[in-house]
C-alpha cells in the first residue's frame, strides 16, 4: 500500500529566491499531517506544489504511488485544496459555484452531491445568494465544500484557521473529520498549535524551506511542541 503522498528532494526556487530546499515527506494513507513554520518558510509553496498548481523546480512527488508530473490530470481527481482564497466566483451563487466546479471535476449526480455538501457545511439556507454577500467564515466553509465535491482521497488545507473564530474553526474540523473518517489523508499548514495538535497524527516544522523537526503528535504535548518550534525558528533571530 504506497503512502498517500511521498516527496523526495523537493526543491522550488523563484529566480534567486529558493522557497523549498529539498523536502522529503512520507504521509501514510488516512493519516493527518500538520505543517508548522514561520511566514516565508515555504508552507504555502509546498501545499500548492502537492496540489499540482505549482511546478517544482526539481524533485519527485508520488501521489498514491504515481508520479504527479506524468499523471497530473488524473491525480487531481484525488486531490482537494482549501487555500487562503476561496477559489469561488463572487458574482455566482453558492449553488452555481458548486455546480460549475462539479462539472469541472466530472462529478456524477451533481445536484444530489451539492445538496449533500451544502447540508454538511450548513449553507443550504443561502444556496441561491451570491458569494460576494457571504462572510469570511461562510466563504471558508463554501471553499471546503468546493474542495470536497469530488470526494478527494487527499485533502490539502493552507492555514484553514485564517479569518475563523474558535467556534467556526471547531465546526470546520468536525466537518472534515466526519466525512470518510479515517480513509482520507489530510495535510494542512497552521499557526494555531493547540487546535492542530488535537486533530493531527504527525507534525512537521518547516524553516527556510527545510524540514527542521518531524515527530508523531502522540509523543508531544502543547508545551513540548512550542518549545521545539522556538528552537527551530530561533536560528533566524540570533
Amino acid at each position: 500500500m504506497p503512502p498517500a503522498v511521498e516527496t523526495s528532494g523537493l526543491v522550488k526556487s523563484f529566480g534567486h529566491y529558493t522557497a523549498l530546499r529539498g523536502i522529503d515527506l512520507k504521509v501514510p494513507v488516512g493519516s493527518t499531517l500538520a505543517v508548522f513554520g514561520p511566514n516565508g518558510a515555504g508552507k504555502t509553496t509546498l501545499i500548492k506544489i502537492l496540489a499540482s498548481i505549482m511546478r517544482p523546480t526539481s524533485g519527485k512527488i508520488l501521489i498514491e504511488g504515481l508520479e504527479l508530473k506524468d499523471n497530473a490530470e488524473m491525480l487531481r481527481t484525488r486531490l482537494g485544496l482549501v487555500a487562503h482564497q476561496s477559489y469561488l466566483y463572487g458574482n455566482l451563487s453558492a449553488w452555481e459555484n458548486l455546480d460549475f466546479y462539479a462539472r469541472m471535476y466530472g462529478v456524477e449526480d451533481r445536484s444530489r452531491r451539492i445538496g449533500e455538501l451544502l447540508d454538511l457545511v450548513n449553507m443550504t439556507g443561502r444556496k441561491h445568494d451570491r458569494l460576494s454577500t457571504f462572510s469570511r467564515g461562510m466563504q471558508q466553509r463554501m471553499a471546503l465544500a468546493r474542495a470536497l465535491l469530488h470526494k478527494p482521497s487527499i485533502l490539502l488545507l493552507d492555514e484553514p484557521e485564517t479569518g475563523l473564530d474558535q467556534q467556526a474553526l471547531g465546526a470546520m474540523w468536525d466537518i472534515i473529520k466526519r466525512e470518510e473518517a479515517g480513509r482520507r489523508t489530510i495535510i494542512f499548514t497552521s499557526h494555531s498549535f493547540e487546535r492542530a495538535l488535537a486533530v493531527c497524527d504527525d507534525v512537521v516544522i518547516l524553516e527556510r524551506g527545510r524540514i527542521a523537526f518531524k515527530a508523531q503528535a502522540c509523543t508531544l504535548n502543547l508545551g513540548g511542541l512550542k518549545q521545539k518550534y522556538q528552537e527551530c525558528t530561533a536560528v533566524v533571530e540570533k
Binding site: 523563484f14 500548492k48 496540489a51 499540482s52 498548481i53 505549482m54 511546478r55 490530470e73 488524473m74 487531481r76 481527481t77 486531490l79 485544496l81 487555500a83 487562503h84 482564497q85 476561496s86 477559489y87 469561488l88 466566483y89 463572487g90 458574482n91 455566482l92 452555481e96 460549475f100 466546479y101 462539472r103 469541472m104 471535476y105 466530472g106 451570491r130 458569494l131 466563504q139 468546493r146
Partner: protein
Amino acid sequence: MKFWSSVAAIAWKDVLSELRTREIIFSVLVFAVLVLVIFNFAFDLSPDLMLQIAPGILWVAFAFSGVLALNRAFIPEREENCLEGLMGCPVGREAIYVGKALGSLFFMVLVEAVILPVFALLFNIAVLQPELIVVTLLATIGFVAVGTIFSALAVNTRAREMVLPILFLPVVSPVIIAAVKASAISLNGQSWGDMTIWLAIILAFDIIYLTVPFLVFPYVVEE
C-alpha cells in the same frame, strides 16, 4: 469528451457571471456607439465616400470595444484567485484558454450583433449582408483567440489597461486590415469571388492563432 465539457462549463460560467452584473456588456456597447457617433462628427461626408470608410469605422469600434471587453476577461479569475482553482481541476491548462476564449467570443458577437444594426441605422448603409457578417465573424474569432492569451498575460502586469492594447493591437492588425478590406468589397456589392485573398489571410490568422496560443497558454498560468 472531458475537455469539451470543461470548456463549455468555463464558457457558461463566464457568460452567467457577466449576465449577472451586465456591467461589461453595457459599458462596451455604449463605448462602441460612442465611437460611431464621434466618427459621424469627425467626417460629415457624401454618402459614397462614407461607403468607403464605413468598414474602417466599424472595425475601429469593434477593435477598441473588443480591447475594453478583453481587459476584463480574466478579472473574475483574479478576484478569489479562481485561476488556481481552475488549475486544480482535472483538466488541461489549454481548456481554460479555450473556455475563456469562447466566453469572450460570445460577448464580442453580442456586441457586433447590436452595433451592426445601429451602424446601418445611423449611417444608412446596408451593412447586414451575408458576406460582411461572415467576414466579421471569422475576423472576430482570430481577434478573440489572440486577445484572450494577451489578456491572460496583461492581467498579471502592473498597468494592465495600457499593456493589453499596445501588445495586442499591432499583432492583430493583419486581421483588422483584412476584415476592413473584405468588408469594403462586400459593401461594393461584390461577392465571395473578389475577396478570396482576404478570407485566406483571415483564415490563416485564425488557424495560427488558435494553435500557437493553445500550445503556449500553460506557460502563462503556471509558475
